[in-house]
């Protein structure tokens, strides 16, 4: 399945906090730490953008409780609960204020953490986050598709994307992937089933995070979280900036990695 992480300085460790043994992938010491929050399908493994960013940033990539690598916490039943576990993670690891980047469900998670305690973060990057009900269109229902079709919907040009096939294999799903997806989809169901993938109150609560500089990155062709939700996020977070990448779907990090990294580096300076 996924690409193996490179040897030099990358390792996976257990971090005991908030009542769970978080499995955390860490990059080599490369500068300012960057907390990476994965999406609703879990952490599939090594991405190329990690390597590009590593010289300037120390990546910290925890697996969410219940998504396979980190055991489930029984008491977590919504995204706010998960955010409160992660807030403890950041505090107890003495990481705040840290830069954060969240993808899809991980973006919603970062937003909830910022709402609960803006002091957790120095800067925040949300990549096509769920969490706000789009004014136009609907968030694609993970439970209405096979995982493979859901992934394909996220990357319109998946057939020509080498990283897509490295990450997600194919054409047959491996047992390893099936089990990881089962965990991830189960836990996503526990925390985001109804209403699906959004909180009606989030836009109002986000008004309080003006102190966290926020970059929103969206693909203009996102079939998973409609770009109209990007406008809503932009209006909800005072001072935030929305970058819409033309011709890109739900995964700019693998669809347009160079442009994506450029945006990140400029913003996180």
């Amino acid at each position: 399945m996924a690409q193996q992480q490179p040897e030099n300085g990358w390792h996976e460790e257990k971090v005991r906090t908030a009542g769970a043994d978080f499995s955390v992938v860490k990059g080599p010491q490369g500068g300012k730490p960057l907390l990476v929050l994965h999406d609703e399908l879990g952490y599939p493994g090594w991405f190329k953008w990690h390597t590009s960013l590593a010289p300037e940033h120390t990546l910290i990539i925890p697996g969410h409780p219940g998504f396979g690598r980190t055991p489930r916490l029984e008491w977590i039943s919504d995204v706010r609960d998960l955010a409160s576990a992660y807030a403890r993670f950041v505090r107890e690891q003495s990481l705040s204020p840290i830069d954060v980047i969240g993808f899809s469900l991980g973006g919603w998670l970062a937003a909830e953490m910022a709402v609960a305690d803006p002091k957790l973060f120095r800067k925040m990057v949300l990549v096509a986050p769920t969490g706000i009900r789009p004014p136009h269109g609907e968030i694609l229902d993970l439970y209405n598709y096979s995982v493979r079709n859901y992934l394909k919907a996220g990357v319109p040009d998946w057939e020509h994307n080498a990283e897509f096939s490295t990450l997600y294999g194919g054409p047959q799903d491996t047992l390893e992937l099936i089990e990881m997806w089962e965990d991830a989809r189960s836990e996503t169901a526990r925390i985001a089933w109804k209403p699906y993938m959004y909180s009606d109150s989030l836009p109002f609560r986000l008004a309080g995070v003006a102190s966290v500089p926020t970059l929103l990155i969206w693909g203009s062709e996102d079939q998973v979280v409609p770009p109209s939700a990007g406008e809503s996020y932009k209006s909800a977070i005072p001072g935030s900036r929305l970058v819409v990448l033309r011709g890109v779907g739900h995964h700019p990090e693998i669809e347009r990695p160079v442009e994506f990294v450029e945006q990140l580096e400029n913003f996180l300076r």
């Binding site: 439970y143 209405n144 598709y145 096979s146 099936i178 997806w181 989809r185 996503t188 526990r190």
Partner: protein
Amino acid sequence: MQIMYFSERPYVGIPEDEIIKRRSFFGMPNSFFDADRGSQLLNEYIDEKIYAEELGFDAVSLNEHHGTPFCMVGVMNVEASILARVTKKIKIVLLGNPLPVVGNPLRLAEELAMIDLISKGRLVSGWIRGTPCESIFNSAPAVYNRESFNEAHELILKAWTQPGPFRFEGKHFHYRFVDPWVLPLQKPHPQIWIPGIISPESVVWAAKRRYPYVALGTATEATAELWNLYSKVAAEEGYQAGSECFGFMQKVFVAETEEKAEELGRLDMFGGNWNNYGRPEWMSLPGYNSKETIRKFARGATLIPLSQVNEKTSIEDAKKAYYGNSFDNARKGGFLLVGTPKTIIPKLQRLIRTIRPGALGLCQNDGPIGREARLTSMRLLAEEVMPALRETAKEVGIVDSFECKPGSRPLPASGTPDPVIDRELLSAAG
């Protein structure tokens, strides 16, 4: 032995290719639903149940599915309520209410109590987890399916047996004032039967509570395995399991000639039948199955054998995959008995002798076979097949859950339970 009449009450009238090309009965757009036809069919199906009473069946069993022409009845309590009033003596067996998806189990307790009262104590309540498609339809997360099943079960039993008002604070259900005015006629409550297909967890759960377990058309070997498990758990609980603890649902279609029976019996495969009940992505909703079951699916030993059919598969190829040798295999495996009374009777007798069910459901063909043929099959079953089956049941000493309270038989002095199946017949069949 209780002999029950059962049918899925399919909606008949959608071109088969429309179902095949969508790779699923579930989720068929309801623009294909014709209300006049729906009205006619629902009435016909209710009339069939009334006819079943006239014919001398002991019980009618009902089920429900949602969002599918495979089974028109989304709310079987509506059907049960009508039958409660218009029939006189037949038992009304619900197999079953899908507890995790009903949303409001206290209301269900009220509905069932009313059905029991109106029928003057003829309700048998059965509870199921529901297929994953029912979870999709009702927006009930499959991850909490078993948990909410258990909690709804606890609430309904309390509502029926514990004097109110009281407060109920569960994980999934919260009630500040449980005090249903209308309570069941049968005391302490109607019998509860648990239908199932493959899940050993459900068998163990039923045995611990002394609820009869009804196997829905499982292969004889698999059924024997589940019932042996039931018997083992029963022994641990300190009782001897017997025929009163078991029910079996058998698909059967009878006609006046073998040729006609085969021709009409084949229609059971219409649309792919269960092979095409729901798309794999719906049937494999996360959290519904245990990790072990998922591994089995992944290795190909699966209830969803058709992942090779996808949106690009032609109708012709999909049909081949859905049909396969299903009809012949189903006949060979005994899942579907098709024939004249003369050829059907020995097969059913053998089944009864082997697994000794206290309740035997005869499940009518699910396909578009037409009203006259359905009624003929029912009549032949009642007039020619049933008397022979009753005789066999009597001969091998089968009692049902109304003659002998499940869980009331003491274990033999040795502590080792007596067999619940005929092992010799089973191994001869194997």
